[in-house]
């Protein structure tokens, strides 16, 4: 599989190169740094070409398509010019991106999640998914008012489905009587918290995917006010107060919690002694009352530290034993996160975060759930009955077991190298997300190229590993390879 990844990386790198010199340079460097140059069994490099790489072929085809106009791009030798008419402001704006995003999954047929999702199918070792996404954001500004909308349309073609869906991620009206007073009403994301991979204090946001934390997410329908004051000469430089009203009724934010409530959330922000500090709460009945705080501060010119904490009163957790007996318990959940971002002299960025998920399951509880799933699957095989599988599926999809990170202690490490080998716009990176308690993990190497204006190419693979009964060991996939070509307009 390593050679597969390497091959993919080489294809991506080659396709975005724009000269013979670049191609030779990249081939040489990847070859030398990979150790393939020392491989005395060259046949191993190609032995995995077993027909599963249609997806890679598609990537190659697309990247070559992208390559064509670049080969014809002229040499830039003219003087620098900048005409102010280029920046004339219009009252409206339409922009966004369109992307092609195929994924190849390598399935782990012995895992609990595979058994749960594919119990009645005989899948091959791999499965492909082709995605096409279109995100459009548009705004119209008049006087102190601005209307804004962000839509996300996704096309998915996989073994399971061929669907096209459109979601309105955001759509709100903003009125700004002054720079210190802004009123928003409509569907919007609040994006509270300072964590990069997780945000335990983001009470009004949908969960972030730590594998892709910068993706847009759908908001909730809210009414909010931002009141801001700046101060000079003291330790407190800025203060902001953001009260938010969140109605939850049938058809309106009903996935947030219990319906027929109008909830109140607020955030207080302070820039105090060069430290960002937020204090927030949510109350009102749809969810139990919760409190949070976060901070962020630059320690030096290349080191930032941040943290986040939340306390959830009366958190109700549903759990199962190995026999599938479902129970509930209520307790005060404490979640916290500490992290840092560090930039070295050689332009390597490290993002490290530790996350304690107080709403998560212990290793034993996770293992009990996987054991129950195995039992449910065995029962299906021997009797054809799906009743236990349905219960397990419900616990996974409706309960907390199916969350992106359902356990308690996590470590996130992301290392990015800007412009390696002195080539601008290539950013290789590797991301580790580990369950500290059961020592299972996902490791995601990737390479991103942004050298072509408005085009971003990313090739990455995810290696998912762990022992049986561990969180990542029981994931549906052993590995995944995905490619994303995103064009901004």
């Amino acid at each position: 599989m390593g050679t597969t990844v390497l091959r993919g990386c080489m294809i991506a790198a080659l396709c975005v190169c724009r000269s013979v010199t670049d191609i030779l340079s990249v081939v040489t460097k990847v070859f030398l740094y990979s150790g393939l140059g020392r491989n005395d069994k060259p046949g191993r490099v190609v032995e995995e070409s077993d027909g599963r790489f249609d997806i890679v072929t598609v990537c190659l085809f697309f990247m070559v398509l992208c390559h064509v106009p670049i080969l014809a791009s002229p040499s830039f030798a003219e003087e620098y010019t900048f005409d102010v008419s280029e920046v004339e402001k219009k009252p409206y704006h339409i922009g966004g991106y369109i992307e092609f995003y195929p994924i190849l999954f390598g399935l782990d047929k012995n895992s609990a999640m595979y058994k749960l999702n594919f119990y009645d199918r005989n899948m091959a070792g791999t499965t492909e998914q082709y995605n096409g996404n279109l995100q459009v954001d548009a705004s119209l500004e008049k006087g102190i008012s601005r209307a804004y909308m962000k839509t996300f349309t996704s096309y998915t073609d996989s073994w399971q489905t061929q669907t096209t869906k459109t979601h309105i991620f955001e759509g709100y009206l903003s009125v700004k009587p002054s720079s210190s007073f802004i009123v928003d009403a409509g569907k919007k994301t609040m994006n509270w918290g300072k964590g990069y991979a997780w945000n335990p204090a983001a009470f009004l946001d949908r969960p972030k995917d730590p594998n892709d934390p910068e993706l847009s997410r759908e908001g909730f329908i809210v009414g909010s006010i931002d009141y801001t004051r700046s101060f000079t000469g003291g330790a407190l430089k800025t203060f902001s107060f953001t009260p938010v009203l969140v109605p939850v009724y049938s058809g309106v934010n009903d996935d947030l919690g219990e319906v027929d409530h109008v909830n109140l959330a607020s955030k207080f922000y302070f820039l105090f002694q060069d430290t960002d500090i937020d204090v927030m709460f949510l109350t009102g009945g749809s969810r139990t009352t919760r409190y949070g705080m976060d901070f962020s501060r630059n320690i030096t010119t290349n080191l930032e530290v941040h943290g986040e904490f939340s306390l959830i009163n009366g958190y109700e957790q549903t759990y199962t034993d190995t026999a599938g007996t479902v129970s509930k318990r209520s307790y005060t959940a404490k979640n916290y996160l500490v992290g840092l971002r560090y930039l070295t002299k050689s332009d390597t960025t490290y993002i490290v975060e530790y996350y304690r998920n107080g709403t998560g399951y212990s290793t034993t509880e996770m293992r009990d759930f996987y054991s129950f799933t195995d039992r449910a699957y065995e029962r299906y095989i021997t009797t054809g009955s799906t009743d236990l599988l349905a219960r397990a599926l419900n616990l996974n999809q409706q309960g907390a077991y199916g969350r992106i990170n359902p356990a308690v202690n996590y470590l996130y490490i992301r290392v990015m190298q800007k412009d390696p080998f002195d080539i601008l716009y290539y950013t290789p990176a590797v991301t580790l997300i580990a369950n500290i308690d059961d020592k299972s993990f996902s490791l995601t190497p990737e390479i991103t190229y942004t050298g072509i204006t408005n085009l971003e190419l990313r090739l990455r693979t995810g290696i998912i590993a762990g022992t049986r009964g561990s969180e990542y060991g029981e994931k549906q996939n052993d590995y995944r390879i995905d490619f994303r070509a995103r064009y901004y307009f």
């Binding site: 920046v87 954001d137 993706l215 060069d274």
Partner: protein, 243 residues
């Protein structure tokens, strides 16, 4: 005897004439000649690769006082709507997709290339540096600047200042150990109106990025006053409304 004293005095003045130059005042003058205390400006940032290929960014900047700067990317489409904010040593980047400001450090670069964040969101030099020494070199003064704190991106600067205009022609950025990190070249002096006459092109190269260079072109610099609340995290997503 009198002749000897006069000759000695003349000799002293000729030998160290720059003792008459107040380095701190000269640096203040350089700051004011480069930009008013509060202004808005448009600039284009161009990263040039060794083979001549370019990547361009269009950037709108507002500044108030000595240590409040904010910027908005207008182009290309992939960067449009990104905003940056600097309050003294604190810097943030807002990416519309991410939806919230995140702290960045001065040595990072939001545009790639040779310019880093402290170059793009530069404050008055006098805010961050003390003048240690002034030398006279023909038609220019050479100012040796030392960072006031360790949070400043470059520990030392060598700034060549044109005597006739009190504008920099070249600045070398050095580490604490004296290693050259980058050189800024100020070119193409232009009248922007409102009494603002300054170089319109700022070019930089670095021994750390051999063959690469980055260029900043100023197209418009206009005096303008802003409320303090413009320079806050809450206002970052709304910066487009200032244009």
């Amino acid at each position: 005897m009198v002749g000897t004293i006069i000759a000695a005095l003349v000799g002293i003045f000729l030998a160290v004439p720059v003792f008459a130059v107040d380095g701190a005042k000269l640096l203040d003058q350089v700051d004011r000649n480069l930009s008013p205390e509060s202004y808005e400006s448009y600039r284009k940032i161009i990263n040039v690769e060794p083979d001549g290929r370019k990547k361009e960014f269009t950037y709108y900047t507002v500044k108030k006082g000595r240590e409040k700067v904010a910027g908005l990317f207008i182009a290309p489409a992939s960067e449009k709507g990104r905003t940056t904010l600097r309050l003294g040593d604190n810097m943030w980047l807002y990416i519309p997709n991410v939806g919230k400001p995140v702290r960045i450090t001065s040595l990072q670069s939001v545009v790639g290339g040779v310019f880093n964040n402290s170059d793009i969101l530069s404050l008055d030099y006098a805010v961050e540096y003390n003048v240690e020494k002034v030398e006279e070199q023909g038609k220019e003064y050479l100012l040796h600047l030392k960072a006031k704190t360790r949070t400043v991106a470059y520990d030392r600067l060598r700034m060549w200042v044109m005597k006739d205009r009190s504008l920099p022609s070249r600045i070398e950025c050095l580490t604490e150990a004296g290693m050259l990190v980058k050189t800024l070249h100020f070119k193409d002096i232009k009248d922007f109106g409102g009494g603002i006459v300054r170089p319109a092109v700022l070019e930089t190269d670095s021994p750390l990025y051999k063959g690469y260079k980055s260029v900043m072109i100023f197209a418009k610099i206009t005096k303008r006053d802003f409320r303090d609340e413009i320079f806050t995290l809450t206002f970052m997503p709304k910066m487009e409304s200032l244009r």
